[in-house]
């Protein structure tokens, strides 16, 4: 009981960290900082998954924690960093309009997510059930980040962060998804990043910039 209690406290702490990072991502201008934040988010996810695995004594969750570590903390940030260097965009920063307003919208979303998670937490039996609200909030905040950004790379980071939120939601609601599905998602992510990387090159070559507003000219009238 004590072990569980301590674990639950720790888990809440980690979840809070996750939410904080999401907010930090919303307000960061520099793309490289965002990648670092994304890596941090992944490592928190790794820690929390390990914690849940330890507490619930589920060996499978250790595997998915390891997968998280390899994919989201090491491989993907490394690929993204490399991409930025190759594209000569590592010092890129983008103008963000009205950070306070974005933050306020984010706050509303967090409240909304908590309201939404309330009935689900009632049903869940896991020790992690209180964090479902946070997981949903992370998903919505990442989505918001995708909407407010204009650079291709940052949109992709938002997309990856959203997947982090989904993963966190899965561990907190049901102790993770079946292994097959997790492996599949991991592979999907890797492939998606590769393909998007190719798109980056194409966009960069075409418009000499990674700004997405150039794509508006592609519209057929």
């Amino acid at each position: 009981m004590l072990k569980s209690h301590l674990a639950a406290q720790l888990l809440n702490l980690l979840a809070a960290g996750l939410l904080l990072i999401s907010f930090a991502m919303l307000s960061r201008r520099r793309t490289q900082r965002l990648i670092t934040l994304f890596a941090w988010q992944g490592s928190i996810l790794f820690l929390s998954t390990c914690l849940v695995a330890y507490d619930a004594s589920l060996t499978e969750l250790y595997y998915s924690a390891a997968l998280t570590l390899i994919m989201k903390v090491i491989t993907l940030p490394w690929i993204l960093h490399r991409l930025m260097r190759r594209l000569g965009a590592q010092w890129d920063s983008e103008p963000l309009v009205n950070i306070p307003a974005t933050m306020l919208v984010g706050l509303v979303l967090v409240i909304f997510a908590f309201g939404l998670a309330e009935p689900i937490s009632m049903l869940a039996t896991t020790i992690t059930r209180h964090t479902i609200g946070i997981a949903l909030a992370v998903i919505l905040l990442s989505f918001l980040m995708m909407i407010t950004r204009r650079k291709a790379v940052t949109v992709v980071i938002g997309f990856l962060a959203m997947e982090n939120g989904l993963f966190f939601a899965a561990t907190s609601a049901t102790y993770g998804m079946p292994m097959v599905i997790e492996l599949g998602i991991a592979l999907d992510l890797l492939v998606a990043v590769f393909i998007l990387g190719i798109f980056f090159f194409q966009i960069h070559e075409q418009f000499d910039s990674l700004d997405l507003h150039h794509l508006e000219t592609l519209r057929e009238d």
């Binding site: 309201g115 919505l140 989505f143 997405l212």
Partner: protein, 678 residues
């Protein structure tokens, strides 16, 4: 699928007509795919596989004939194909037997002709064409044999798609692509209507077998809804005005055997389905349905005949003539519904027999004529009537066989067109017994319209035959046109023989139709058909004997021939016809296709939208151009297309091009859905 059901299937396949028919039908796709082994070889595909397909047609013909000659007890087979819990039901009864007979009879002729027709270097490679062709044939057979709505729709769509690819086989020509698109569009609109009609017909039971639909009792509203949707859907496929617009575009675009298949066979599947739904599944409930079908049918017939009279492209002319004939068939169906709903079973059987036999006849003579245009096209590379003429000398075989088709379609005895048109007029004579005064007053008008249509059709055929085969060649190259090759001749002869046989001995066709009317209405006409004559209601009222007619014609011609040879000098002399004392006649002085249609264009001016360029009297190179357009294009289709375009433009505001806006859409959707869960 358990072992038990497989064994039951195998035992079911051992003997019945239906199982052997299904096996025969399955040979077609096999032949089609065999063509892919050597797709470029005309010799392999056309000279070997197509004749085999024709043999299968003959097999289907014999099997269907044997079934119709027997007691016509419906047979059913359930095959565990398709989706889980939704097996394919096949059903063979008198109605499907009759249409299979039609498919086999005309299909055999067309396939044999096609074996001689396809050459290398004309659009799609022969192997692919053979695949599409045989899939088309097989899907038509499956449409006719389908015993549930699901299989019916699958086969129906397959038929539409395979025929689309056949139509666009020369897809490098933009007009053909456009015609194909129009055809596909109309086919899909029709399919949606048919799907909805089946949805209305299941009546809340969610059972889609025809057996279940036969058993459900629908409220008048739903029954009428199902009927209306079916009329729209099958009308679009059959080419009923105003859903006919694809027909004059698609038929000329397709290679001639395909035009023959589409006009001769595919339009008949729509007739089949209409009969199946109206008489078998919905059990004819209201006489108003009959009035609607009758009015649409008569209008289509008149419209088709008038438009055919002013065409200058020989295949377009035949396409409009198809609209006319489909109109006649629908007229018969409308009368049958009217009689049946008024409890006049015998007359309903008469009208239905007329419709069925006309369908059979049309499949024969229209295929024959389309195939003849194919040989003319190959021999002369011309489709425009203005550049043909005098081909009777260079293409005697085709000319004689096409003449038989022309006389049949014009409704002259002793050929088959006369039989069905005579039966149709006969059934109009009994409309006085319908217990609705208003209808009673209007129907004679319909009879008059029918007579006018039939006369116009004869006029059209005189134009068709006269301009192509008679007179002098309008182009010098026509003198060297080559005749049909022997496979083509066999195909044409088969169809022409069918025309003659049904005309002289209509008893067999009547008996086949009687099996259908017996199954659908419980009533047959002419219970005691003798070999000498047919008398649909009573011999003292009206009877027809093809044999006596033939004997009379042979006797008159023989006597005249003998008299001329014996009494006159007997020498054969070739001279120009009566030249009014002006001996220097050339081909420019002949009546043209435009000239022939001109009186009709004037009399029925209200039907057309015309644009004319008249040359000035001082023009040294005068050119006369006339463009005739369907009023339905401007009346219905253009406004409809514009409305669709406008609404699409309005929707395209959503496509702003900004990624964040798109993301916002999905974000808002997500939030709204989450709120709903909350």
């Amino acid at each position: 699928m358990s072992v038990y059901s497989w064994t039951s299937i195998i035992t079911a396949f051992s003997g019945t007509n239906l199982s052997s028919l299904l096996l025969l039908v399955a040979v077609w796709p096999v032949l089609g795919f065999a063509g892919l082994l050597r797709p470029r070889s005309v010799r392999f595909v056309a000279r070997l596989l197509f004749p085999l397909g024709a043999l299968v047609c003959v097999g289907v013909l014999l099997k269907a004939g044997a079934f119709l000659a027997s007691e016509c007890v419906p047979q059913e087979i359930v095959l565990p194909l398709g989706l889980a819990n939704l097996p394919f039901h096949f059903r063979l009864d008198a109605l499907s037997g009759f249409f299979l007979l039609l498919l086999g009879l005309a299909g055999a002729g067309i396939s044999t002709f096609a074996a001689g027709y396809f050459r290398a270097g004309e659009g799609t490679s022969p192997g692919l064409l053979g695949l599409q062709y045989h899939i088309f044939l097989a899907s038509m057979a499956v449409v006719i044999l389908a015993g549930d709505a699901y299989l019916f729709m699958v086969a129906w769509e397959m038929m539409a798609l395979s025929s689309y690819f056949l139509v666009t086989s020369q897809h490098r020509i933009p007009e053909i692509r456009r015609a194909g698109f129009l055809y596909l569009l109309m086919a899909h609109l029709g399919a949606i209507c048919i799907l909805l009609s089946f949805g209305a017909m299941q009546g809340g039971s969610w059972q889609f077998t025809f057996d279940a639909m036969r058993g459900t009792s629908l409220t008048p509203f739903w029954a009428t809804a199902a009927f209306t949707l079916a009329l729209l859907g099958f009308g679009a496929k059959a080419g009923l005005v105003p859903l006919h617009v694809w027909l004059p575009e698609a038929h000329p675009a397709a290679p001639s055997p395909v035009s023959a298949m589409m006009s001769g066979l595919m339009l008949k599947t729509a007739i089949y389905a209409m009969l199946r739904i109206t008489f078998d599944l919905l059990h004819v409930q209201f006489w108003q349905w009959g009035v609607a079908v009758l009015a649409l049918g008569l209008f289509s017939a008149l419209f088709g005949a008038v438009f055919a009279a002013v065409q200058t492209d020989m295949k377009r002319l035949l396409a409009y003539s198809s609209i006319e004939n489909i109109g006649l068939i629908f007229t018969g169906i409308g009368l049958a519904i009217l009689f049946e709903a008024s409890n006049l079973r015998l007359f309903a059987a008469l009208a239905l027999t007329a419709a069925l036999i006309h369908a059979l006849n049309h499949s024969l003579f229209k295929s024959l004529l389309f195939l003849s245009t194919g040989t003319v096209l190959h021999a002369t590379k011309q489709r425009s009537l203005g550049k043909l003429g005098g081909l009777i000398r260079s293409m005697p075989w085709v000319a004689v066989l096409a003449l038989i088709g022309t006389l049949s379609i014009a409704g002259l005895p002793p050929l088959n067109g006369f039989v069905s048109e005579w039966l149709l007029l006969q059934s109009f004579l009994f409309t006085a017994q319908i217990p609705h005064t208003f209808i009673n007053m209007l129907v004679p008008l319909g009879a008059a319209a029918l007579a006018l249509t039939v006369a116009l059709a004869a006029y059209v055929m005189v134009k068709f035959y006269g301009v192509i085969f008679l007179g002098q060649p309008r182009e010098p190259s026509l003198a060297h046109a080559h005749d049909a090759n022997w496979l083509e001749r066999i195909g044409l002869m088969w169809l022409a023989a069918g025309c003659v046989a049904i005309g002289i001995l209509p008893q067999f066709a009547l008996r086949a139709a009687a099996a259908v009317t017996g199954a659908l209405l419980g009533q047959t006409i002419a219970p005691n058909a003798s070999i000498w004559q047919i008398a649909p209601i009573a011999p003292e009222q009206a009877s027809y004997s093809g044999l006596i007619f033939l004997a009379g014609i042979v006797a008159v011609v023989g006597v005249a021939f003998v008299a001329v040879r014996l009494l006159a000098h007997g020498r054969i002399r070739r001279t120009p016809a009566w030249d009014c004392g002006y001996p220097w006649q050339n081909s420019r002085m002949q009546d043209t296709a435009e000239g022939f249609g001109q009186p009709i264009r004037h009399m029925f001016g209200a039907f057309f939208r015309m644009e004319r360029d008249l040359p000035s009297p001082y023009d040294s190179e005068p050119r006369y151009r006339i463009h005739i357009e369907d009023r339905f294009w401007r009346g219905i289709y253009r406004p409809l297309a514009r409305a669709v375009q406008r609404s699409a433009d309005a929707m395209s505001v959503l496509q702003g091009g900004r990624l964040s806006i798109y993301l916002l859409f999905s974000f808002l959707t997500l939030i709204v859905l989450l709120v709903f869960i909350l």
